[in-house]
């Protein structure tokens, strides 16, 4: 099927939506991925100086499902409740390009050879872009885990990295799926319930308001950006078609129109603009939508803890009133308080770093995007100037 080995220069071009504190002690990258039917096999390459790993450099094959498993186990681990858990990579979706490819194959007879070749090329490019994006999000997930002081020591994470055979994690069965769904329901219901709980800490209060607001905005922006890039792509497609039609006119008509072919080249650029825009901006926004979800989850967990604490306080009060089980209730209350405090503390830290990270990432991506836009515009400008000159000269 399709396999890509990313060379180092491609690596640079790639958008990294998160700024990772590059720590040489544990370096993870995905140099290669293989797409087989609906499964994507990633080759994960690990280079480490940590003693907890048996070897200093090794590679393991992993599938998308393994990543999900890793994410789930981390989410379920109690101690990480106070941390922003990196969002799990989205499921690779090659359906779009593949379907188009299929359609293209069907329609092969109806178009000219050139047109077909061009379409095919275009689709391959699109496919490749999707593929690269997929690899990248998986990589980023691992890198975020590895760069986090807590997660890097996680047992499951180490297993994930080190186990040199297929993990073949058990897929979630229907019941579990349903359970997950149910849990989500409960969670959102709970969210509504505890939203009434009075926030004790102003920082969190603010943060909560901000995040809620921000997440809705960013979701909106993401959707819009997606729409925009999609229409941009349409425009690029149109350019492609126009250039095709122009070519055929020119082929037919060797007199007047030959010179007009130059217009076609435009299309490629427009296409690049579209895909880069997509890669930079939309990916950024998309990633942060997920990241913010993660942050919101953190807040939820904290709020949950707070609610628990308050509940335990109430129980303690009740127990005191009744004069029995006081010790147990006190113990419970203390525990809750401790948990809450701990969560608050780490949450605060996490959120602050999240903010910093976000700003940095936005900056980086915006700069990159702007530069790309400029580059493309300049390219097409020189192209246009060239073609105008050609036209003027004959």
């Amino acid at each position: 099927m399709t396999s890509i080995s990313e060379d180092s220069d491609k690596e640079k071009v790639r958008s990294v939506s998160v700024d990772l504190n590059n720590d040489a002690s544990l370096v993870i990258d995905i140099p290669d991925a293989l797409c087989e039917r609906d499964k994507v096999k990633f080759t994960i390459h690990i280079k480490t100086t940590l003693s907890s790993f048996q070897k200093s450099e090794f590679s393991v094959p992993r599938q998308h499902e393994d990543f999900i498993w890793l994410h789930d186990t981390i989410v379920e681990t109690e101690e990480y409740a106070g941390l922003i858990i990196p969002p799990a990579p989205p499921k690779p979706d090659f359906e779009g390009p593949r379907e188009k490819m299929h359609k293209l194959g069907e329609g092969e007879s109806s178009m000219t050879k050139e047109e077909y070749a061009k379409m095919k090329q275009e689709l391959e490019a699109e496919y490749l872009a999707v593929f690269k994006k997929t690899v990248q999000v998986h990589e980023v997930f691992l890198q975020r885990l590895s760069s986090h002081p807590m997660f890097r020591k996680d047992r499951n994470f180490q297993i994930f990295l080190e186990y040199d055979q297929d993990l073949t994690v058990r897929r979630k069965n229907a019941k579990e799926m349903f359970g997950g769904f149910f849990k989500n329901m409960v969670k959102s219901a709970d969210e509504v319930l505890i939203s009434g709980v009075k926030e004790v800490d102003e920082f969190f209060e603010q943060e909560k308001i901000f995040l809620l607001d921000y997440s809705s905005k960013i979701k909106d922006a993401t959707a819009k950006a997606e729409k925009m890039t999609r229409s941009h792509k349409n425009v690029a497609d149109d350019y492609n078609h126009i250039s095709g039609a122009m070519n055929s006119i020119a082929a037919d008509n060797n007199t007047a129109f030959k010179k007009t072919i130059s217009v076609c080249v435009l299309q490629k650029l427009e296409d690049r603009v579209a895909s880069d825009q997509e890669l930079k901006l939309t990916e950024l926004l998309r990633y942060y939508t997920r990241d913010i979800q993660a942050a919101k989850d953190l807040l939820y967990r904290r709020a949950r803890a707070l609610a628990d604490y308050e509940n335990s306080n109430k129980t303690l009060d009740k127990a005191r009133l009744k004069g029995k089980d006081i010790a147990q209730a006190e113990e419970n209350q203390k525990q809750c308080l401790r948990k809450f405090d701990k969560l608050s503390e780490s949450g605060k830290k996490e959120l602050t770093s999240f903010k910093a990270r976000r700003v940095v990432a936005f900056r980086k991506n915006l700069i990159e995007m702007t530069e790309l836009e400029i580059k493309h515009a300049k390219n097409s400008m020189s192209l246009l100037q060239g073609s105008i000159e050609i036209l003027n000269s004959n």
Binding site: Y214, S231, V235, A245, S248, T260, L384, L391
Partner: protein, 683 residues
């Protein structure tokens, strides 16, 4: 008689020139002189295409000159030169001219040529035939040939006599040289040009032999060559035109030198001089096409002489009776118009009416009549009913632009420009309300045409194209139309998608602005709102680009799809002409068979009738054949002209379009570059 005046110009020079030259030798100098001096007055205008000179003057100059001038000198000439040689000369000419006059009087004359040509002809050429009988005037003309073809010495003598005899004439004679030499000057490069032209001329009519030779021969050998000239005249038309100029140069040379040595030269020259005149006349029927080519050469000038714009669309009336009136302003230096600038108000149906009139008159001649934009009931209803709605504003603007282009195309067409209806349309304050355009919207008409095409093509499926050029061209046009249609669809979708993109960009800009407002990092928030602004501007850019896509690119394609339809119609006209010819041929065949039967059956009484019929049909066949040839020539020229124009148009429009894209890219760079420091400023 705008058309005729336009067409006649070329002939005129000839007609005069010969006189010039010949006269200079003969006593007829007076005539030359006058004619030239009269020419002189219009000559300032002459700097422009010759035709203009003649637009008005012709009537005056010729109608008068011929009668006055000719009649005067003639007497003298007559008196003097009643030498036997003149008779011969007369013969030479009279026969060819007979030919010509036939042609002239044949139906073809009916095209605009008429007055001017027929007048001059009657004066100059038409007369010779009659001459033998005694027309006084002729002598003037006949003499020259005699002079040229016969003995120069005779001429010399004659001219000497003339000069000596008549002071007035001498004066006149003297005048001409000055006048003549002066004349070219205003038109820019004087004699040189002409001499150059002359050399050109020789190359052009290659179809034949060297024109000079040809004609010197002709002039000497009399009638025989003339018919050939006649038949070929159409192909030579171009050459003829330049020859006329040639004439001028010769004339000048001769006159200015006026030395005996010239005589030989004259001999050589004169034939060439007289020759053009003859084919000219003979080709008078084909004059339109000739003028066409001439104009083609001069087209670039023409174009700048006539600037038409359609502006200020205005709604007149209310409700369903409302209509849009457009201001049609013309700016021109062409003398055929009464003033340099004028403005009229026209409504859409007037434009359609113009098209209708033009196609009625000219389409059977094989002209490509530029089609007007299609009638859009939906769009117009919207305009009628709707208030201020962007889509109807766009519709009106689109139509305005289309009408402007339509008119420009019409006036770019050299023959259509001469049409009185066009002039009326541009100039006349009030135009009779165009009726029945309702059913005749562009689309409707094209549909009709298409139907006709189908019918005709079915009918003439057997028409095996003998002309490879046409065969290929027809095929090309069809292919091209298909491709253009395809391209047009794509460009339309580009326009739509770009509009969509612009809309989405706007929405995105808004939501980025919102995001920016809720962002708590000030620098990032600033950057985001900046980004929103940038996106906003880009949205504008996209919007502009979309309208550019539409107006410069998509409309261009739409126009040419319509025009190609017209081209096809023109091919159909040719096919129809062919069909007519074939039918006549068949009929003739049948008549002949009947005759044979009658002959066999020995029925002399009916035989005569059959013979008459055969003669009648033979005439018809020849006429139809000629019609067909003429229409083929016209169509060919039209198509070549169309192709040229198309290439130029496309080039211009595409450059314009690319420039617009270039511009928007530049803007884009500007915007993003302005944004870059903002992005970098995020801390």
């Amino acid at each position: 008689m705008a058309a005729s005046s336009e067409r006649s110009p070329p002939p005129f020079p000839d007609l005069e020139e010969p006189e010039l030259l010949e006269d200079s030798d003969e006593g007829a100098d007076a005539f030359t002189g006058t004619s030239i001096s009269e020419m002189d007055s219009p000559s300032p205008d002459t700097s422009r295409p010759p035709k203009d000179i003649f637009n008005e003057p012709p009537e005056d100059i010729f109608s008068d000159p011929l009668s006055n001038i000719n009649s005067e000198p003639q007497k003298k000439v007559d008196a003097k030169i009643s030498s036997p040689s003149s008779d011969e000369a007369v013969d030479l000419f009279s026969e060819p001219l007979d030919d010509d006059s036939e042609v002239m009087s044949s139906p073809e004359v009916q095209n605009p040529m008429p007055d001017l040509l027929s007048e001059p002809k009657s004066g100059v050429l038409g007369e010779p035939p009659v001459q033998k009988n005694a027309a006084r005037q002729q002598d003037v003309f006949e003499e020259p040939p005699k002079g040229s073809s016969k003995s120069s010495s005779v001429k010399k003598a004659a001219s000497a006599e003339m000069l000596g005899d008549d002071d007035e004439e001498e004066d006149l004679f003297k005048e001409p040289p000055k006048v003549v030499t002066r004349k070219p000057q205003p038109s820019g490069p004087p004699v040189d040009v002409f001499t150059e032209v002359k050399s050109d001329v020789k190359v052009k009519p290659q179809v034949k032999d060297d024109p000079t030779d040809l004609f010197s021969e002709e002039a000497l050998t009399a009638p025989a060559p003339k018919p050939s000239a006649n038949s070929s005249s159409s192909s030579r038309t171009n050459g003829v035109h330049s020859e006329e100029q040639d004439l001028f140069s010769e004339a000048t040379v001769e006159l200015s030198l006026d030395s005996p040595r010239n005589d030989r030269k004259k001999d050589a020259v004169k034939p060439s001089v007289s020759a053009p005149a003859a084919p000219e006349a003979s080709s008078s029927s084909k004059a339109p096409s000739k003028t066409l080519e001439e104009l083609e050469e001069e087209e670039s000038e023409d174009k700048f002489d006539l600037n038409i714009s359609v502006t200020n669309p205005e709604k007149v009336g209310d409700g369903m009776n409302a209509y849009m009136a457009y201001k049609v302003s013309t700016q021109t230096s062409l003398t055929m118009f009464r003033s340099k600038t004028f403005t009229v108000r026209r409504r859409f149906s007037d434009f359609l009416g113009l098209f209708e009139k033009l196609s009625e008159k000219h389409s059977q001649n094989g002209y490509i009549i530029p089609p007007p934009p299609e009638k859009s009931i939906l769009g117009m209803t919207k305009v009628k009913v709707g208030k201020e709605d962007p889509s109807s504003a766009e519709f009106v603007e689109r139509r305005r632009a289309a009408l402007e282009r339509y008119l420009q195309r019409v006036v770019c067409h050299p023959s259509l420009l001469q049409d009185p209806d066009v002039r009326e349309f541009l100039e006349k304050e009030e135009l009779p309300r165009a009726v029945s355009t309702q059913a005749l919207s562009g689309a409707g008409f094209l549909k009709m045409l298409n139907k006709a095409t189908d019918a005709v093509s079915k009918m003439t499926i057997k028409m095996n194209e003998q002309d490879v050029w046409f065969d290929e061209k027809i095929q090309d046009v069809e292919n091209e139309e298909q491709h253009l249609r395809k391209l047009h669809v794509m460009v339309e979708s580009l326009v739509n998608h770009r509009k969509e993109l612009s809309g989405n960009t706007a929405v995105f800009a808004k939501s980025v602005a919102m995001l920016g407002s809720s962002e708590d990092n000030t620098a990032l928030s600033r950057a985001l709102s900046q980004l929103a602004e940038v996106e906003d501007r880009i949205e504008q850019l996209h919007q502009e680009q979309a309208s550019n896509d539409f107006f410069t690119f998509s409309e261009l394609l739409a126009d040419y799809i319509r025009l190609l339809g017209a081209v096809r119609g023109c091919f159909d006209q040719r096919m129809k002409a062919w069909q007519r010819w074939q039918d006549a041929e068949n009929m003739l065949q049948k008549k002949r068979e009947t005759e044979a039967k009658l002959l066999w059956a020995n029925k002399p009484d009916k035989l005569q009738q059959a013979k008459d019929e055969i003669a009648e049909w033979e005439a018809k066949v020849t006429q139809y054949e000629r019609d067909f040839e003429r229409i083929s020539a016209t169509v060919r020229k039209e198509v070549i002209r169309f192709d040229k124009e198309k290439a130029r148009d496309f080039k211009r429009q595409i450059i314009k379009y690319l420039e617009s894209v270039l511009h928007s890219q530049q803007q884009m760079i500007k915007y993003w570059e302005a944004f870059l420091p903002e992005a970098k400023a995020i801390a």
